[in-house]
Symmetry: C2
Subunit: 97 residues, 2 copies
């Protein structure tokens, strides 16, 4: 699935609810998902099924924010990650941390 | 660009660095990006260019985590968001918050 198609899917599913909730509260929902991921990865053993779900949720809530902020996520991603590092101009990236 | 292609792009660019940094510190980098987004949206006026960059970064760090956790992000997303809400079985979603 294309990133642009996923953004449309999230818009179709949730935009009315996202608009009603608003930007700040949507950000809080994203943070909740971040917290759930933290909870899953802080220990040693990873439950792949649960982690998959949280990663999907983080992508989805970030996409809801993009919809509310009127940002084309695929364009934003291609601009920042154009198949090379925009800092060192290489792939793989050879920047220091 | 497909989600799976983006995951491969991030793997090609950053996997060695991600592995060296490890899961916990990669999570902290994700949180830093979350903080940068918070900083941009807490006020009134939105700088679309900066917000686009932070949203792309959040997606990218989440993808780095997926690589480290050996999760196929596109499959994870399609399983959780199969063109309808998996809770109310509708599109658009009609669940209460």
């Amino acid at each position: 699935m294309k990133i642009s198609e996923f953004q449309k899917l999230i818009r179709d599913l949730y935009f009315k609810k996202d608009q009603k909730r608003g930007r700040s509260d949507t950000f809080i929902w994203l943070i909740e998902e971040i917290g759930e991921l933290a909870n899953l990865i802080k220990g040693g053993e990873i439950d792949s099924e649960k982690v998959s779900e949280e990663l999907a949720d983080i992508i989805a809530w970030t996409t809801s924010l993009a919809n509310l902020l009127d940002i084309d996520l695929e364009s934003a991603i291609l601009q920042k990650y154009p198949y090379k590092c925009i800092k060192c101009n290489s792939s793989p990236c050879v920047c220091g941390e």
